[in-house]
């Protein structure tokens, strides 16, 4: 029983958890959400640009997108965050006078997620039936307008579930920015938990952090499943047999 008691004390020390809660709500949670949402938005913009470059008829654009994607997807996130944070941080400090690594953290997360989102968008756009482009062009639209008005919107729609999954990954990866040494007011869920655990010598604050992450990610996971199912089945509406309606075409031959 000693071991069980010890485990319970280590992970489920309610007092230690209670102490960290106010800071989690006031500092950790908002920062995690800001990091994930802002880099999600910037990453989506980068991803859209990469996807359009990736399917472009210009070979140079395709190559640039390819190389960017291969590198950013091929590196461990922790390495990218460190290199961008510590490598470019001093330059930004010089230019702006700001010592906060926060913008660098967002930049690193955006650049990484951009590479993944670019691949998601590209596969979505390329999965649109080529008859769509052909029909749009046959109406007299240019290649660019056809892509913008018909092909790309369909491609995006169909990768929405993958996009939400990527956002879930971003919420989790945002925990890695603790390595850049954020100011006290900039700390996110993981680091708040980590600080409290270090101070109290008890791991319960980590468990608190875990609960916060799960509260964000589990609903999103189910949201993905929901839109996935909705897109597979379509909105219910009744089909009806053809014939009946045509007011023209009484001169049927054939």
């Amino acid at each position: 029983m000693d071991i069980l008691n010890q485990l319970a004390e280590t992970f489920f020390d309610w007092e230690a958890m209670g102490e960290v809660l106010p800071k989690m709500f006031a500092v950790g949670l908002p920062n995690t959400i800001v990091l994930a949402v802002v880099s999600g938005i910037i990453g989506t913009a980068i991803g859209m640009l990469l996807a359009l470059m990736g399917i472009s008829r210009n070979a140079a654009a395709r190559w640039i997108a390819r190389i960017y994607t291969d590198i950013l997807r091929g590196l461990p996130p922790v390495l990218t965050i460190l290199v961008i944070g510590f490598g470019f941080g001093p330059i930004i400090r010089e230019l702006t006078g700001s010592t906060s690594p926060y913008p660098m953290a967002i930049a690193a997360l955006s650049l990484m997620s951009g590479a993944y989102i670019g691949e998601i968008f590209r596969s979505g756009i390329q999965s649109v039936d080529k008859g769509q482009l052909e029909a749009t062009r046959a109406l007299g639209f240019s290649y660019g307008s056809s892509m913008r008005l018909v092909v790309v919107p369909q491609g995006i729609r169909r990768v929405l579930p993958a996009l939400v999954n990527q956002f879930i990954a971003l919420i989790k990866e945002s925990s890695l920015v603790f390595m850049l040494g954020l100011l006290a007011t900039e700390r996110e869920i993981f680091q708040i938990g980590k600080d409290a655990a270090a101070n109290s010598g008890n791991l319960s604050p980590y468990v608190a952090a875990a609960i916060f992450y799960l509260a964000l990610t589990i609903p999103l996971t189910h949201f993905v499943n929901f839109i996935d199912a909705r897109m597979r089945a379509g909105r219910p509406e009744k089909k009806e047999p053809d014939e009946a309606a045509a007011v023209v075409g009484k001169g049927a031959q054939a």
Binding site: D129, G131, Q132, E134, A135, T136, R137, A138, L139, G140, F141, S142, S145, L149, V150, P153, Q154, R157, G234, R235, E237, K238, K239, E240, P241, D242, E243, A245, A246, V247, V248, G249, K250, G251, A252, Q253, A254
Partner: protein, 245 residues
């Protein structure tokens, strides 16, 4: 007394290769204003490709295309395609837009109509094909025959001078074919200039003014339907007709 501002269409000595594959080998085709030409032939004979070359979805390697007697190869291809409507085997409606939006999109963006104007015109076109009541449905909720009629309305809304039909009934269930063919026959009777690539021999025989038989990238025989169907001159056409009739 044509309901349409249609024009004649001529293809002269069209050649096209994909790599080493010589798909079209000197095709000549002439469609008089207000008449219907049907193009028949076995799969892979180049019929569908010919349509795509004539509206420059694919640029020919050699040859000329004339609309109303004037060469269009130097025109802007996007503007050329606004003058030629096209209907596809797979309908190719835009699944993310309503039926009415499928039609109004080009009217708004290419013809510069206001949203209200374009919708009104879309509804008028839908009325002509008997589907006004489906204006706000999504294409996926329509039957194949209804979808193809919407596709025809979408093409007609642009007031084309010529209409292309690329095996427009091949993807339809048998019981839905008749309605679409009837609509096409009405267009032909209304004086639209049409090029119809089809496997429907009955339609080809009864509705078209000229039938062209293609095989392996060349025009093998061409003439009035009575002549081709009752008195085929070449062994290839005789063989084809005995296979499909």
């Amino acid at each position: 007394m044509s309901e349409f501002a249609s024009g004649s269409l001529t293809a002269k000595n069209i050649h096209l290769s994909f790599g080493s594959n010589h798909v079209l080998r000197g095709i000549d085709l002439h469609v008089e204003k207000g008449t219907t030409a049907s193009v028949i032939g076995p799969s892979g004979s180049g019929k569908s490709t010919l349509l795509r070359v004539m509206n420059r979805l694919i640029e020919p390697d050699q040859g000329d295309i004339l609309l109303d007697g004037r060469s269009v190869l130097k025109d802007n291809p996007d503007e050329l395609r606004r003058r030629i409507g096209m209907v596809f085997q797979q309908f190719n409606l835009f699944p993310h837009k309503t039926v009415a939006e499928n039609i109004s999109l080009a009217l708004r963006k290419l013809r510069g109509m206001s949203k209200e104007q374009a919708r009104e015109e879309a509804l008028a076109q839908l009325d002509l094909v008997g589907l006004k009541h489906k204006a706000d449905s999504r294409p996926a909720n329509l039957s194949g025959g209804q979808q193809q009629r919407v596709a025809i309305a979408r093409a007609l809304a642009m007031k084309p001078e010529v209409m292309f039909f690329d095996e427009a009934t091949s993807a339809l269930d048998p019981e839905l074919v008749k309605g679409v063919l009837a609509l096409m026959a009405d267009l032909a009777q209304g004086g639209m200039t049409m090029v119809v690539v089809t496997h429907e021999m009955g339609f080809s025989r009864n509705v078209s003014d000229v039938v062209t038989f293609m095989d392996a990238g060349v025009v093998v025989e061409s003439g009035p339907p009575e002549q081709l169907f009752t008195n085929p001159q070449t062994a290839r056409l005789q063989g084809f007709l005995s296979d499909v009739l």
